[in-house]
């Protein structure tokens, strides 16, 4: 049996509850990979999932994670969902500054988390904020000129990857968006120019189908700010008195500057999560300003890769409901954004937050940070804790256990996620709303 019927205005018939025999679902969208892969073929047998086609290290692992625990626990003892919710509400009611963290969930989960946070005066932060803020701070300081995946696929003649290990984090990016066979405005996609600045690619995904390896201008991540600043200066024809910068020969950077200026549609991509050095947002801003400069004469666009584990979803929903990204506090009765003060890690290590509600519906590895404050976890089934939280509610994963919406890295496309199996696990939205009602 094949599980989809295209239909523009009726819900596709994908709510699968037949447990008796294996069913195969086609064109399943993934909330795991950030680039919105939606061509997966997945077999469902009971609660076991198997990616049959188009899997990758990220998506196959994400979908195939087995369901283990389905019962909520309080203090390590199995309880009913109602009891777990009541205990969570008891904890939150007693707090002065609760922290709603993790926030790896879907749009409805995020909506419910914000409704709860608004009610209890909590701070909201996402588990990937340290990375996401490198982009958001650059955006809020200067803005940017960005593009989306289909434009890259059809238009890019030059791709500059800055500092990131794209391949292991986004395994199918090159296959889907760079080495695609058909492109509307690129005669021969195999001739696309791919240049890595900083870290060399981990594998050969960036190697062209004709065997041409990507060009690598290698330097350490710590040297990237300087290298990127020099690249921007070269684009402005500034004279640089050096033969190399961060180990990159100046002549190579001069050639790269020329390529960027002559590309019809250059794309500059980076993975904020890989830029693990202090004030990486300043380098991102330099990149964004460089891209703006290039657009005075040609076209060039940024492509920040990210969006895994719901970080793009969290910031988008928080953006429209509060006006701000995450790291927003409801403590004074209205949203107040502070990307430094409201960082989850800081609030916990400084002893400012006095309870933690952690939502992590995608990845069992993403457990809450170590803390002594009372902790409530709404987590994917199968999580193993170093320290048992005060309350644990196993929740369903969006796009597997319930329908929902998740954002892709380019912040434009929201994927409609489908329920693939009947595990009985509640959605994070359901549990968060129940806690909100219990806390009143």
């Amino acid at each position: 049996m094949t599980g989809y019927h295209a239909n523009s205005n009726r819900e596709c018939n994908r709510d699968m509850t037949n447990k008796s025999k294996a069913v195969v679902w086609e064109n399943v969208p993934s909330p795991f990979c950030g680039i919105g892969t939606d061509d997966l073929s997945i077999e469902v047998d009971g609660t076991a999932l198997k990616v049959l086609q188009n899997g990758c290290s990220v998506n196959s692992a994400g979908f195939e994670e087995p369901v283990t625990d389905t019962d909520p626990r309080v203090g390590g003892e199995t309880v009913t969902l109602e009891e777990a919710v009541a205990k969570a509400a008891d904890i939150l009611r007693e707090t002065n500054l609760p922290l709603v963290g993790g926030l790896a969930t879907d749009v409805n989960g995020m909506r419910a988390a914000l409704a709860l946070a608004d009610r209890i005066g909590a701070v909201v932060d996402n588990m990937n904020s340290t990375a996401a803020m490198r982009n958001l701070l650059a955006l809020q300081s200067g803005g940017w000129v960005n593009t989306t995946l289909a434009e890259v696929k059809n238009r890019a003649d030059l791709l500059l990857m800055v500092g990131g290990d794209v391949e292991s984090l986004f395994p199918r990016f090159f296959e889907r968006c760079v080495w695609n066979q058909d492109a509307m405005f690129v005669d021969d996609t195999t001739k696309r120019d791919v240049v890595f600045l900083g870290r060399a690619p981990a594998g050969d995904a960036a190697t062209a189908p004709d065997g041409r390896a990507a060009e690598v201008l290698a330097c350490s991540n710590a040297d990237l700010p300087e290298v990127v600043a020099v690249l921007r200066a070269l684009i402005h024809k500034k004279v640089i008195r050096a033969n190399e910068v961060g180990g990159v020969p100046l002549a190579s950077l001069q050639i790269l500057a020329k390529k960027l200026k002559h590309a019809r549609y250059g794309v500059v991509s980076w993975v904020a999560g890989s830029l693990d050095f202090a004030h990486a947002e300043l380098m991102v801003q330099t990149l964004c300003e460089m891209i703006k400069d290039l657009n005075e004469t040609t076209r060039c666009s940024g492509l920040p890769l990210g969006g895994r584990e719901g970080d793009q979803t969290a910031n988008s929903v928080c953006g429209w409901i509060t006006g701000y990204p995450v790291r927003t506090s409801y403590a004074s009765g209205h949203p107040e954004y502070d990307p430094h003060v409201n960082a989850a890690e800081r609030l916990l290590t400084n002893g400012e937050a006095d309870a933690l509600l952690w939502v992590s519906a995608f990845n069992v590895e993403r457990t809450p940070p170590a803390t002594d404050v009372p902790t409530i976890v709404l987590g994917r089934s199968g999580m193993v804790f170093e320290k048992e939280p005060d309350v644990f509610v196993p929740v369903g994963t969006p796009g597997i256990d319930h329908s929902g919406h998740a954002y892709r890295m380019d912040n434009v496309v929201a994927l409609r996620l489908h329920k693939l199996r009947d595990s009985g696990l509640p959605s994070s939205a359901e549990v968060l709303s129940a806690i909100e009602h219990a806390v009143m």
Partner: protein, 555 residues
């Protein structure tokens, strides 16, 4: 539950009622005829009050990616206008690009009961609807953007017949859950991706060879053929460019009688006279609008102060980025579908150009004779936030106030404007026309914008005051679908409006070529692209209201 609204002075232009004392009856969310035999459950004494249908904003950017980019870009603007949580209302923020919840509350507090997002990208329709789903109090809907999407431009370049284009337009309307179609800088957003920096009405697209004129005619013809009530919503070429009134006049001519709505016409009414080579073209534009009954316009009035401009027109937004205030801006190319540009802006009354823009908008309002064909907008937030509407209404209704404001703007601009010599003051009936009756008619909402039997009981009650700004800022009562939701300008009940859509019929054959195109060139599968009804209704708050198309459309 039967509610009686007794003795109000009713302005209901859809039925020709101009300030007559009438009783209204409301049952189950609808207006009903006088039910002689039934007991009244609740009565409101409205003697001496002004009663109108709930107001409809037919062009306001309240949902979709570029609005949230604008929100995210400007934390400093939000910080000046926090919205505090109450027992009833969620917290949020206001000013230029308010949070969704605050947007809904503030519209309702001004007596608005519907707002339409005019720039819904097909690829971003989900987000637009999800954001509008978080806007309480008002009904909503979206116009889906076409005209720079590669699928249409390919069809035109391949000279596909109009019928196939109609099918594609209908399919897009349905898949995006839209109530109308908008075109923004026809072909220009695509041309910008090819590094073209301007595209005039008869200029050829660098890749496809199509002209904006051809795109406009093609889409306006499709919208008409499909029987979609709202005519093609047009954001024309050359937005903001001095001398663009010539383009606008040519655009009106080019339509050869086909119905189109020209949006934020103020930004398209500029001449090149005077020392600054910038002058008002409002008189010529108004004359053309008066003469061509197939044309409707909304103004896109600018008002002074900080705001943020958010548009699909990234070609023109990029050209204006040097004016960004504060100095930060975003442009995006989007999915072979469209684009967007977000540029914060501060309109200054002492600046010649801004002051003249202000005057041009007001001249436009006052020189177009027919309030059924000119609509009250600031193109929120592009000209000013929607919360300035009461002020704008006062400028239209109160000549003394208007002339007083005119003395405060850049004197050169004031001298170049005919505004001071215009005597006209809008009447309450005319305000009710442009903000209610005509807006509903233009969009194709048969049961909104009026107070006749079977209409939605969306009703706003004001106390008539000399100061029209004060009057329109704070209604005594607002009813939404029969519920009292605002009392004395404050929300007393939170409701969730419906989403208005149309569903024109089309030949399913179009899906075959679309499927092939999606598989080859896009990054989504066709069936993952189309929006289902459940996505709007499944949370139990949202609902869909399907409006009929005039020919063949599914009711």
């Amino acid at each position: 539950m039967l509610i009686k609204l007794t003795g109000g002075t009713v302005y209901d232009p859809a039925r020709g009622v101009d300030g007559e004392v009438r009783d209204l009856y409301v049952r189950d969310g609808r207006i009903v005829d006088s039910p002689n035999d039934t007991a009244i459950d609740k009565e409101y004494n409205l003697y001496g009050k002004v009663v109108m249908a709930g107001a409809i904003d037919m062009h306001t950017h309240i949902g979709g990616g570029k609005v949230t980019i604008a929100r995210t870009l400007l934390p400093e603007d939000h910080r000046r206008d926090p919205f505090q949580r109450t027992d009833l209302l969620r917290s949020g923020c206001g000013h230029a690009a308010p949070s969704t919840l605050t947007t809904g509350y503030r519209y309702a507090e001004m007596g608005y009961t519907a707002g339409f997002e005019p720039a819904m990208l097909p690829t971003n329709a989900r987000q637009a609807h999800m954001e509008m789903g978080d806007v309480p109090m008002i009904d909503k809907g979206g116009y889906v953007m076409l005209g720079s999407d590669d699928f249409l431009l390919r069809m035109m370049a391949q000279r596909k017949d109009q019928q196939a284009i109609n099918d594609y337009v209908a399919w897009t309307i349905k898949s995006a859950q839209a109530i109308g179609v908008k075109v923004v800088n026809p072909g220009g957003i695509s041309a910008f991706k090819f590094n073209q920096r301007s595209l005039d009405l008869d200029e050829k697209h660098p890749h496809y060879g199509t002209s904006p004129r051809a795109i406009l005619k093609c889409l306006a013809t499709a919208v008409k053929a499909l029987g979609v009530p709202h005519p093609l919503h047009v954001h024309g070429c050359n937005l903001g460019v001095p001398g663009n009134m010539e383009t606008t006049l040519k655009t009106i001519e080019a339509m050869e009688g086909l119905s189109v709505h020209l949006t934020h016409i103020q930004f398209h009414s500029y001449g090149t006279e005077g020392d600054h080579k910038f002058s008002s073209g409002a008189a010529q534009i108004a004359e053309a609008v008066n003469a061509n009954k197939n044309i409707t316009v909304d103004v896109g009035q600018i008002l002074f102060g900080q705001t943020v401009t958010a548009s699909g027109d990234n070609m023109r937004q990029h050209a204006n980025h040097n004016h960004a205030h504060p100095n930060k801006w975003v442009c995006m190319d989007i999915e072979c579908d469209a684009g967007c540009g977000v540029v914060p802006f501060r309109y200054r009354d002492r600046n010649f150009v801004n002051a003249l823009q202000w005057a041009i908008g007001l001249e436009t309002f006052l020189l177009i004779d027919d309030p059924w064909r000119v609509f009250l907008t600031t193109d929120h937030p592009n000209g000013a936030p929607f919360t300035t509407y009461p002020h704008l209404i006062r400028l239209l209704m109160d000549k003394t106030f208007r002339n007083d404001q005119l003395t405060r703007i850049n004197p050169e601009a004031a001298a170049m404007s005919s505004l001071g010599s215009i005597e006209r003051e809008y009447s309450l009936y005319e305000i009710a026309t442009m903000t209610r009756a005509a807006a509903a008619k233009l969009i194709g909402l048969t049961d909104s914008g009026h107070l006749g039997a079977s209409a939605r009981a969306d009703i706003t009650v004001y106390t008539e005051q000399e100061d029209k700004e004060a009057m329109f800022a704070k209604p005594d009562y607002v009813f939404k679908d029969g519920d009292l939701v605002v009392r004395n300008g404050e929300v007393v009940k939170v409701v969730w409006g419906t989403t208005h859509v149309v569903r024109p019929e089309h030949d399913d054959g179009i899906e075959k070529s679309l499927r092939d195109y999606f598989d080859r060139y896009l990054t989504m599968k066709l069936e993952n692209f189309t929006m289902s009804d459940g996505e709007i209704t499944e949370d139990g708050r949202g609902s869909l209201s399907v409006h009929p198309c005039s020919t063949g459309g599914e009711a």
